[in-house]
């Protein structure tokens, strides 16, 4: 992977970390519910790991496809899939309904996995990972792991920073103005990523 790929991967991690729907807001709510900063910090690892799990799963599935399928075919397949998902996100607002405010760590990780999946977080990364020429199993596995790690670290940093900033200083009232509708940006990012899978 070249530097650009790394930067895009990490940048998307930061972008996902910014989205309140990806988990930092949930961590803040759990902290406020228990009146405990430690509860905010306790909630973050399951959230980030659930997100990472979804990303890794998506990348691994496509890596597996690449070992068995001609590159062009994979590229067009990924492009179609990601574009369609992006358009669907733009047209239809849905959110998983599963947990409530009383959650175990496993439920929190599962929630984050589902939210990442429902928002197409893994799909958004796919085109970047297609940039390499490798088709060897070992190289692809390494690449999926490395991409997930870079993405996750960036997400962890941003999401932790935001959760603590809001919990310690800003307060949740900031949501009323600063919670911009990321659905549109998210849908456009997905469509853009899909197109780039064919162009690059």
């Amino acid at each position: 992977m070249d530097l650009t790929s790394w930067l895009i991967t990490a940048g998307l991690g930061a972008f996902h970390g910014l989205n309140p729907a990806m988990g930092w807001l949930f961590a803040v709510a759990l902290g406020l519910q228990e009146r405990s900063r430690a509860a905010v910090l306790r909630a973050l690892p399951p959230i980030v790991l659930g997100h990472a799990g979804l990303v890794l799963l998506t990348l691994t599935l496509v890596a597996a496809a690449r070992t068995a399928t001609p590159p062009k075919f994979v590229s067009y397949g990924v492009a179609g899939l990601v574009c369609c998902f992006g358009l669907w996100r733009l047209l239809r607002r849905r959110h998983p309904r599963w947990v409530g405010m009383r959650v175990t760590r496993w439920q929190l990780a599962g929630w984050s996995f589902l939210m990442a999946g429902a928002h197409g977080a893994g799909l958004m990364l796919l085109p970047v990972t297609l940039r390499g020429e490798d088709t060897a199993v070992l190289a692809l596995t390494g690449q999926a792991l490395a991409s997930t790690a870079a993405h996750t670290l960036a997400m962890l940093a941003v999401t932790t920073g935001l959760a603590l900033l809001v919990y310690d200083r800003l307060g949740v009232a900031v949501l009323r103005k600063a919670w911009f509708n990321l659905d549109l940006a998210w849908g456009v990012a997905l469509v853009g990523a899909g197109i780039s899978a064919v162009l690059v």
Partner: protein, 465 residues
Amino acid sequence: MLVQPDPTFYPSAREAMRGPRERHAYVALLDAQGEGRPDALATVDLDPSSPGYGSVANVTDMPVAGDELHHFGWNVCSAALCPYAPHPHVERRYLIVPGLRSSRVYVLDTKPDPLRPTLVKTIEPATLAERTGYSRPHTVHCGTDAIYVSALGDTAGDAPGGVFMLDHDTFEPLGRWEVERGPQRLHYDFWWHLGHDTMITSEWGTPNMIEAGPDLDLLVNRKYGHRLHVWDLRKRVHLQEIDLGDQHQMALELRPAHDPTKTYGFVNTVISVEDLSANIFTWYLDDGEWKAEKVITIPAEPADPALLPEPLKGFGAVPPLVTDISLTLDDRILLVSAWGTGELLAYDVSDPFNPRQTGSVRIGGIVGRTAHPGSPGTARNGGPQMVETSRDGRRVYFTNSLYRTWDDVFYPDGVTSWLAKADLAGDGSLSLDAGFLADFAGDGRRAHQVRLQGGDASSDSYCFP
């Protein structure tokens, strides 16, 4: 689709208290004549700088007669900010208006012209019956993942009553909410403790027990509801039943603390068969078990039997008949409507187990017929009934009709309807605003629930303290 959250959504009740003052109210109007005139939704001007302040700005008639509009609510509210199901870029714009007698549910759009809501969808009773098995829809609450509506009974007007859900976006009925109802049969109100994934429901009676009017046999034999039910909000299963005592007939309005970290709330019982008193109970979570304790008793007032309607003559007293309560967003003051004695009371409930009365005003009443200070010569009938408090906790709006067949028993000479306003001071004292009385005498229909534009003290629930 909005770029920022709807400006009327607040993460916490504390934030909501700082919101702007309400500019108008929506009021359900019920036709009591039964001559084919439909019910309606009125809009009342609440903007003090407007020339029409305190007057009826518009009346939107429903398309058919016989609905008995009662309670209603918003499509979405502050619960959309809840972190586990966030979808804040939607608009608080549709009113979900059920017909308690017809089982029809209307959806009205307030966006094109907030003063003149327009009908955009009707859920017919047959659709509701087919999808949910319920009838007589009543309370509406916007939830984190759907619109929740209570229903008093099944399609035959018997038990069980329960809760069904409407899709947030399409308003289509999604089906029954309960997965396991345990011993719950009777139903009336519901609300929740979002921080604890807990729903509470209350009991009035089945449609067959209430529609013909209050049934004295049922009452004397203690057959009306007197229990609370506690549910797991996520798993939708019944967890626990709290019996308030069968002498306390009709456990109605549920007002959980607005702060999601708190685990208590208030419920009113209408009448005690032992002494005609009305009572307020506090429910609370104690070491994993939900319990309830009686915290306020409002006694019956002795009265000349000649002034009492038929069923009360033998008692020589007028029961307070507490039929609605409202809790300010800071969980500090509880407003209590005594529809029988014609009194609106305020209690400081900062300590939910030791309420302290802080205010009282009188208007109407079965015996008192107290006048409004703006028209001291006019005796008023009905009494404070549906009560709603502004988000900032400074203004209390209330109407005077309960339910058509019950109005006829307790106020046999009819109910001439109005919407009054009382000011709630910082110390919890109440004073009637002499300059505010939206009079529905000209319209002739009876006012029931009030909803304030932008949200009020019973329209929203919050996931943040």
